[in-house]
Structures are given as C-alpha cells and as structure tokens.
C-alpha cells in the first residue's frame, strides 16, 4: 500500500492507454454536467429559499427551446462517446494478422493455458512483450471470464463454444488475471498472474519449460489415433473433405451457403459434424462429442490449422 490511493491499474497493453483516454473523456464531460447541475440546484435552493420577505413566486411553464437544447446537446455528446467507444471496441476485438495463438480453458477453479509451442501452465500465463497474442478461450464447465485489468481485456469463457480475445503487452512485468464471471465456491481464487517477458526472457522461459509435444504435434497424434485420415485425405473419392489449407478459407456448404473455416467451425465439425455439411460430401462422420476433452479439441484445431495445401478449389 502506497501513501496515496492509486486510481488506475497498470497500463500495460496497446489498448490500455486508449481505454483510459475514453475514461478520462467521459469523466470530463460528466463532471462538467454534474457540477453544473449541482451548482444550479444549490444556488436555486439558497437564492429562492422560502422566507417571509420573499413571497412572490414566478410560475414558469416551461420552454420548448430549453427542452430541445438539453435533449439534443447531451445526445450529440453521447454520440461522440458511443462512436469513440465503438471504434475502440472494434479495434479491441479484432486481432492483428499473424498474432501468436494461445489457448485458454477455464474450469472450476483454474485457468489452463496451452502455448503453440507445447508449454502448458495453470493460472500463470507467460507472454513476450510487444507481440500480439490471440487467445482462444473456452470452458469445461460453467461460464467463466478471463480478465486482465492491466490489459483492459476481458472475455467470457463459455462452455460449448470458443471466444476470442487479443492483446499486445507493452511493459514487462507481472499482472493480475481474474475470473470475472461468478463460477462457484472459489470464484475469487480463480486468479493468476500474467508474466510479460522481454523477448530474451521469453525465449529462456520457453527453453526451460520444454514439454513433450507442441499443440500441433499433440493434435497430429490425435488425428492419427482417431484415424481421421481414413476419410480426410487428398485422393479423389475421399469420404470427407481434404483438410489441407482448409483453415481460413471460405467453405461451400451443401445447402448452398458458404462459411468461413475458423476455429469455431472446425470445433463444430468435430463435435457436431452434421451441423454443416460441406458441398459434395455425405453426412457420414460420427460425432466426437464427449470423446475428446476441450484441450484435445483445441489440439486438433491447432493441427488442422497447420495443414497447408492448395485448397483453392474450396473457393
């Protein structure tokens, strides 16, 4: 505890400063209005206080001009708030291309993190400074929310689907991670630390924490163990679509629509293969719902993302 009460959390991501700026702008506008109104109230209460010498009251019906003024002016100001906030939001939810992928799974009451290079950690998160990091977040049980105040970043971990968030840390250091959505007994202890490391420290950390398989590698093994390649291969007549290069492409579906092959789509296709059938294929794939853990699905997704190929015909 310092000798003065801090008002802002650490400013440690590219977004944080901009959020603080919006916050200050709103504080400024609101303070002007609030102080203005309070001064008016107090002034009127004193100036027009009831006393025996002052018995005349001037009845004022109202004023259309004033009504319009104090509707339209606040509305315009609020639209600037909205516009700025929405602009910032679009920026804050759109990860830059080529961001580093990290997978986060919430579960009562811990955060399990999987790095692309295979490192896994619980509650802690090690990231390099000045590198955009894209988080793919899900939950194994109830709804959680992955919250890093110093990055001004928060995203619910919803069971059964992927949420996405990103940040780019600007300052090496250690910051809080909280669960922000109430999730049961130890909700307030579902916390951790994000360690922002310099490039060199991060490389050292990676080297010191070598684990068996990278996420892709683990995914490849799962892919083979589940014999996915019996159907998903490049030869003609394959029972399932060729997965090479599928990630990020627009996939033509049986019902005529197209869909972007993102993480969510691949996850759905593994767990509920019948939901969206790719054009030219029969709905023959069995479901893997309940047979793969959320982490394993994430590994498969990571592996499928690495499959490069022509896949131009998917257009």
């Amino acid at each position: 505890m310092g000798n003065q009460i801090p008002m802002f959390p650490e400013n440690a991501s590219t977004i944080a400063g901009q959020v603080d700026l919006v916050y200050l702008y709103l504080n400024l506008v609101c303070a002007v209005f609030a102080i203005g109104v309070v001064i008016a109230i107090v002034y009127f209460a004193i100036r027009y206080r009831r006393n025996p010498t002052h018995t005349a009251i001037q009845q004022v019906e109202g004023s259309h001009l004033l009504e319009i003024a104090w509707s339209v002016i606040p509305l315009i100001l609020m639209m600037t708030m909205f516009g700025w906030g929405a602009w910032l939001y679009v920026h804050a939810v759109t990860p830059p291309k080529g961001a580093m992928d990290i997978y986060v799974v919430g579960k009562q009451w811990m955060w399990k993190v999987q790095h692309p290079t295979g490192q896994r950690e619980i509650n802690d998160l090690h990231v390099p400074v000045s590198t955009p990091v894209r988080l793919t977040i899900t939950s194994e049980d109830v709804i959680h929310s992955y919250y890093i105040p110093s990055f001004r970043m928060k995203r619910d971990a919803v069971p059964g689907r992927y949420s996405q968030a990103w940040f780019e840390a600007t300052k090496p250091g250690t910051y809080h991670i909280f669960c922000a959505e109430f999730c049961g007994t130890k909700h307030s202890q579902m916390i951790g630390k994000v360690h922002v490391l310099s490039a060199q420290d991060y490389a050292n950390w990676l080297a010191g924490n070598l684990s068996g398989d990278t996420a892709e590698e683990a995914g490849r093994k799962l892919f083979e163990a589940n014999r996915c390649n019996t159907c998903h291969h490049e030869q003609s007549g394959a029972r399932g679509p060729n997965l090479a290069g599928v990630f990020g492409s627009q996939v033509q579906l049986k019902d005529g629509s197209t869909v972007l092959a993102n993480e969510e789509f691949i996850r759905e296709s593994i767990l509920r293969p019948q939901a969206k059938i790719v054009a030219g294929f029969e709905p023959v794939m069995p479901t893997y719902e309940g047979q793969l853990s959320e982490e394993q699905v994430l590994q498969l997704v990571a592996y499928i993302k690495t499959l490069k190929g022509p896949a131009k015909e998917a257009k």
């Binding site: 939810v93 759109t94 972007l260 993102n262 969510e264 789509f265």
Partner: protein
C-alpha cells in the same frame, strides 16, 4: 369500426353466419396447412405454415374475440403484444445470426 365511439361497440352482437363462416374457414385452413406441410416446398414450407397460422389467428382474434368491434385501446394492446414479441425475437435472433461475423 368507429373505435372512438365506445357506446356503439359495446355489446356488439356478431351475426351467427359470421361465427360459422369463421369456424368453417378455420377447419378448412387446418386441412390446408396439413396438406401443404406434406409437400416438400423447401424454405416455403415454413412460410406457408406461418402464413396460414397467422390468418387463422387473425380470424380468431378479430371475430371470436371481438377485437374488430373493441375499443381502440384493446386493439392497441393486441398490436403491442405482437410488437414486443417481435422486438424480443429480432434482437435475440440477430445475435445468433451475426455471431460468426468478425471485423477484418
């Protein structure tokens, strides 16, 4: 249908033939909806079914429930309930419909 005139609408006696007309229309539309449902019309199956259901509902509301002869306030309330349902449907549905969209 002068809805402002409350004394006029009160105790409006609907002729018997209207009741029976509505009744036969409802029975007919029930057959029609079953009949069309058994044909494969693609997306139009839903559209046809909903249209027929709406027509049936309107017949019941306007004639059986006397809304056609009721004060404007009652008619407004019927409209409001439909409007509020649509608000709830539209906003919620638009979330589900646009979740996959991302900014690029």
């Amino acid at each position: 249908m002068s809805a402002n005139d409350n004394t006029h609408e009160e105790h409006h006696v609907v002729p018997l033939r209207h009741y029976f007309g509505v009744f036969f229309a409802l029975i007919f539309l029930t057959f029609a909806t079953v009949w069309t449902a058994k044909m494969d019309l693609g997306v139009f199956n839903t559209l046809v079914a909903l249209t027929i259901a709406t027509v049936k509902a309107l017949l019941v509301i306007l004639i059986f429930m006397h809304v056609k002869y009721s004060p404007k306030l009652v008619q407004t309330m019927v409209g409001a309930s439909v409007l509020w349902l649509l608000i709830m449907f539209l906003f919620t549905w638009s979330d589900f419909a646009t979740r996959g969209w991302l900014f690029h």
